[in-house]
Symmetry: none
């Protein structure tokens, strides 16, 4: 039997539709990256008979069965008993699991009661899988169960981010080892902002990558992530250069697969001992929220004025009434003053400002829903930019937030500033 992996996902929330099972897709993609494929995925209810039958069936067709969910503290969390029964053992309290639970609850100031302590019970003989992000530890156990061959059962928390971490830390290395001669896959990641996925695809396609290199795209709105993969031994340096050339003009903001756009901006600000303040209208504090998401942000971010109301634009940011009357709140002139004023008032190196029509109301023929202006004020240059992005409020606001951050990044990196961002296709055009 060729090596294979199956998944047993449990939870009534999966079968009554409250939750979509995304963990299986995650595992499928990861296995795929090393040339393996999932054999089966089975979703069953929190019912011991159903679970046992499912685990027994999957263990006859796969050498590794991953269970997702059922590790919580309530009576419908059956996975630890399931695995114990499957292997014919009991459950017992693991001191490391208990210690983890105690620390977890204390750290979060939450009460730890008997039902929570159930999560410290693991099948006898299993190895605990730490869960750094949540309460319930997982476990892995190998044995014959009832099947014709030994099977390794890995039981993980069903909460996606916990599942992912436990998978990477413990299960994936184990699968790689057990699967034998799978070829490691080399990767290069390019995180981009400012080019639609379809355009990125065409540009990369046209760059002439060798056949051994596979390209995948992930639209992480409003970013597009491009990943090159190849089996070990294949050169990825030349293909990476082709991608860099294809997606030129600074749309790749990082080649670090973990770094977010705002983290990149913060790193640049720190490196240049620079600071920033924001003056926000349509984004309503979203740029400031992003800039304060990471620890240490107080080093580079001083504050923000959210001037949603025009009266506040006048009183707190000193936008002249004449400008608002002549050009409107959504104008290059207004964001120019906003950016300059907040920079001056908060005594920062840079000021960035946003103003736009987030919708669904408030649009006009001249200034439709989705139109926004971003202003950047800095020591060497200041500029404004206009963009129009669709008409869905949340998307407009998110897109404006990213454009604001990306313009600051481009300024800090000394890159060219586009005339606008190509929301309707096409690459970023250089500013004349």
């Amino acid at each position: 039997m060729t090596f294979s992996v199956s998944i047993l996902a449990t939870g009534s929330e999966l079968l009554d539709g409250r939750v979509v099972d995304t963990n299986s897709n995650f595992v499928a993609r990861e296995l795929s990256s090393i040339g393996l494929k999932l054999k089966r995925v089975l979703l069953v209810d929190d019912d011991m008979e159903e679970l046992l039958e499912g685990l027994r069936t999957l263990s006859t067709v796969s050498q590794v069965v991953i269970t997702s969910g059922g590790l919580g503290p309530t009576s419908d969390d059956l996975t630890r008993d399931l695995v114990a029964q499957f292997f014919g053992v009991g459950v017992t309290e693991y001191p490391a699991a208990r210690k983890h639970l105690e620390e977890y609850y204390v750290k979060r100031g939450r009460p730890l009661d008997d039902s929570n302590l159930k999560q410290a019970l693991l099948p006898e003989g299993s190895t605990m899988i730490p869960n750094e992000l949540g309460t319930a530890p997982g476990f892995v156990m190998t044995g014959r169960g009832n099947g014709p061959h030994p099977v390794t059962v890995c039981s993980l928390s069903g909460v996606p981010r916990e599942f992912y971490k436990m998978f990477y830390d413990t299960v994936f290395p184990l699968i790689k080892k057990n699967a034998g001669a799978t070829t490691p896959i080399l990767r290069r990641a390019f995180r981009t902002f400012g080019v639609p996925e379809s355009v990125a695809g065409k540009l990369v396609q046209a760059s002439g990558l060798p056949k051994e290199v596979t390209v995948s795209y992930r639209a992480a709105f409003p970013e597009v992530h491009v990943v090159l993969k190849a089996p070990e031994g294949v050169d990825l340096d030349a293909p990476a250069n082709k991608v860099r050339a294809a997606l030129n003009r600074g749309v790749i903001y990082t080649e670090d697969s973990e770094q977010t756009l705002v983290q990149k901006v913060q790193a640049l600000l720190i490196a240049q001992s620079a600071t920033v303040a924001t003056a926000e209208s349509c984004t309503g504090g979203m740029v400031a929220t992003q800039l304060t998401e990471t620890p240490g942000s107080s080093e580079v971010f001083k504050g923000s004025v959210v001037a949603y109301d025009n009266a506040v634009k006048i009183s707190a940011l000193h936008v002249p009434t004449q400008i608002l009357e002549a050009h409107g709140a959504v104008s290059a002139e207004t964001v120019r003053v906003m950016a300059a004023q907040v920079r001056k008032a908060m005594n920062t190196t840079y000021g960035i400002a946003t103003s736009g029509v987030a919708g669904p109301g408030g649009g006009s023929a001249e200034k439709p829903v989705g139109m926004f202006y971003i202003g950047v004020s800095g020591p060497e240059r200041s500029f404004e930019l206009q963009c129009t992005f669709g008409s869905e409020r949340r998307s407009v606001r998110t897109y404006a937030t990213y454009v604001a951050l990306d313009l600051l990044r481009r300024t800090l990196e000394g890159l060219e500033i586009p005339d606008t961002y190509p929301v309707l296709g096409g690459v970023v055009a250089p500013k004349a």
Copy 2:
């Protein structure tokens, strides 16, 4: 055997991770709405042996099996042969299916070749399910297969919008008919903030709900949603009153299952023709972001000062240096001035302020990571409140944002203001 439905989803794209199976979740939700539940979901590869084994197993546990996918024109589309083999019949061309295909391709100016015509072949004796949105018709067939009882197999296109339409048009009516006396389910939703899930559970449990009423809890951090369900005909008014009494003191912020906390706050502000502005430190603009998420927020929200840096607290919010020196930025005194100043500067009915130690750095013995103050300034009363919530930056900020919004809600509703929020368990205590 009670009536049940299972799903067999096929396609290598599901098992190599290119596509997430969302059709199962769709069916789960629809079944749930009429009081039925999915029994099992099985994802298998396009492999006849795997498919046959899967269909055979599911047909022993369910009266209806829905297959998703495998109806396309290529060699790995096996569903029509699968169902034919399962029922021991052949496949034959259905004129209606052929006509549909011819019209579909002509209408779209696309060539119709032999491989496409494969899609006109259906299992002998099956009933065609029209596919108005795509090429491949589906089919439904009832028989004994190999199982102990008759089973109805409904084979639908795997493309979600085609799947949904075929499900609604044909499969759902059939399920409703076959399932016999399914009862519509009544629901009552209670959205709460300010009581941990474990405590909410204990309080509701102790309220003595009748057996026909089932309770479910969903932790939508930092909220807890409680849902009562009962079959039609059961009285839910009395149980709802019990829940209201159990979760008293205003922790239920809405009984509208769609309304968010900030939407509730906005509705109250609109009803009272009141406005709000925020002065934010540790939340960095998150309260303002929330208050501007909904269309029409400009009616009630004027603006915000994000005073991350102490210099901005002094310059933009006029917090006296002596207060910062004597009490620190994270203090009742500081948020009192911040809330009052932003209310005054932006000329609003209410001002709310946040200041805290979001972490991971910056904590001390006296003011640990996770401690924050919220200040509310209003026309009738102003107050401050201290909370400590764990030590994870994102959670601390989110929790502080919700406490700020909830205090405004309580003020607007004329409810008692708690001394603190019970992150350590227990219900909200009234302010002395």
